[in-house]
């Protein structure tokens, strides 16, 4: 085991567990993310691919490291998204609950400060998010929607690219307790 992989596997993010967002940021940042998802594509339609609420959920889960706060945080953001959609409430809630939970589980085992890992995780969770939402739409609502895997992969890569500077920016907002 190399020094790098040893650090990757043994350095627990728990050391950063004390780092917390200020409470106000916990509310304001997701609200800004949801608002931007609602408002910005009106003027820049290309940015509709950006799933900022998901990236915020992933970042929160990775930085807190606790699965239970992460899953509740994901659920809250998801329910707000559901409220602004025409789908039954709970679709995004379930998906983001799972994202929050699994991202927190990952953060307990890996060094989530690594940019490569952040890129991979952001891509993976975007794909997981879109695919699981599609599965839920078919299974629970009976909607016959197509799943464009190629497009999802491309959008996943773009979201992952956005995640790198975004996570760095959000890290700066964290304060040590």
């Amino acid at each position: 085991m190399t020094e790098y992989t040893e650090r990757l596997l043994t350095e627990s993010p728990r050391k950063d567990a004390a780092d917390r967002f200020r409470t106000v940021w916990l509310v304001v940042i997701p609200l800004i993310a949801v608002l931007s998802q609602v408002y910005v594509p009106r003027f820049i339609p290309f940015l509709a691919y950006l799933e900022l609420p998901l990236l915020i959920t992933v970042h929160f889960a990775l930085s807190t490291g606790g699965p239970i706060p992460a899953l509740f945080y994901g659920m809250s953001i998801g329910l707000v998204q559901d409220s602004l959609s025409h789908q039954p409430i709970g679709m995004y809630g379930i998906v983001k609950t799972l994202v929050g939970y699994f991202a927190a589980q990952v953060s307990m085992r890996f060094d989530v400060q690594n940019p490569v890992l952040i890129f991979i995780l952001a891509f993976f969770f975007y794909f997981f998010h879109q695919f699981f939402y599609w599965v839920l739409s078919r299974a629970l609502l009976g909607e016959v929607l197509g799943f464009d895997a190629q497009q999802t992969v491309i959008f996943g890569l773009l979201n992952a690219a956005v995640a790198l500077p975004l996570f760095r920016l959000l890290d700066k907002l964290r304060v040590a307790r």
Binding site: P53, L84, H86, I89, T97, L140
Partner: protein, 434 residues
Amino acid sequence: MDFFLSRYRHLTVLLIVITAQLLLIAYQVKTNKDIPLIRVWAVTAVTPVETGLELARRYTWGFVEDYFVLLGVRSQNERLRRENGQLKIENNYLKSELSTADRDRALSVFESRSPSKTVAARVIGNGTGANSKVVFVDRGSTSGVESGMAVVTPDGIVGKVVESYPTASLVMLVTDPTFAAGVVSQKNRVHGTLKGQGHSECLVDYVQNEEHVDIGEWFYTSGDDRIFPKGFPVGQVTAAPNGKTFKEIYVSPSGMAGGVEEVLIVLQGVHQEVPGGEVGSPAYSILPAPTETAAQTPEGAPQPDALATDADRLRAIYKDVGVQQKHTYGEGPPGSKPPDFTKIPSIHGVPQPGMSQPAGLPGPAGAAPASAGPTGAPPKPSAPVVAKPKPQPPASLESTDDEPVSVDQRKVAPPAAKAPVVKPPVIKTPAINQ
């Protein structure tokens, strides 16, 4: 149990949360009801911010544009665009009404009903989700907007209201994969169901492969869905290949061309006629009308008369009545005195009791007046007319009182005894005036 809960605490919480949300979805799907509390909270929290952002954008960036770039042209342009949109709707309505065959009916319909009642709204944001094709507009239940109302622009349909909140409404666009509306093609009157595809074009489904749909043909709302009033433009066909069972007709929605900024929500819909286009040729062929040349008539057969049908005879009678009473059909303001239609004979040559025979009209058959009772009651069916060798009036003008009397005939020539004073109906039939 305690060991399990402490050992798998995270997993247990996850399962509880997921199950709770699944039950929430199941409740909504099963009862087809929403959870208005959560939605109203979220929308009420978000839409004022959106409206503020939109206002800020308009009054900052728009201010700079208005004063330093366009110097008022923008506002004038907006006003003209609005007026143009209203005129387009009005024009569409008038065109569709006037294109109906019965001009009189079109005018009376135009007088009796007004176009759909609408309220203007501005798009203030999109719905969440990458695949979502829903937008928020700044008119809600306080403006009378309800879910299920149609959303249109002068160029065509845009979508329908799926949720209405006090300050805003959620509109599902025609491009949403779950959108559907009844449509009919302009030329061939082919009915189908418009479905969103998640991209810029829509599909018209359930049209048999045998039906004829041309590229570039317009589709209009059919009114079958009870959401969109009939006669609103939907879009033009871009492709119509045959599919396995149904045609795959792709339509470019005209209402969303150039983006959606301002829309009209139809509060009270009025069905309109689909504007008449070139009527498609029927699938079967019919023979042309026979020419009335004597050369083609077999020798010895009775010569066809020019007044071959009851309509022809009725037209001739009305024409003569107009000449006699010096009345020109189609002239004079509404409410002016019409000709006295009580003094005309039956189209079969049976004069009404107590009326004179108009000059120039074909005379009645000799036995016909006798068949009309003295009380003016409808004549009883007489025995079949036996053909006589002597020259007779044209066969079509013979007294055939046993024939059913047409509705028009009853209106125009009622029995005198039963209705001595009959207010004649105002008839503005252009054909009579010809």
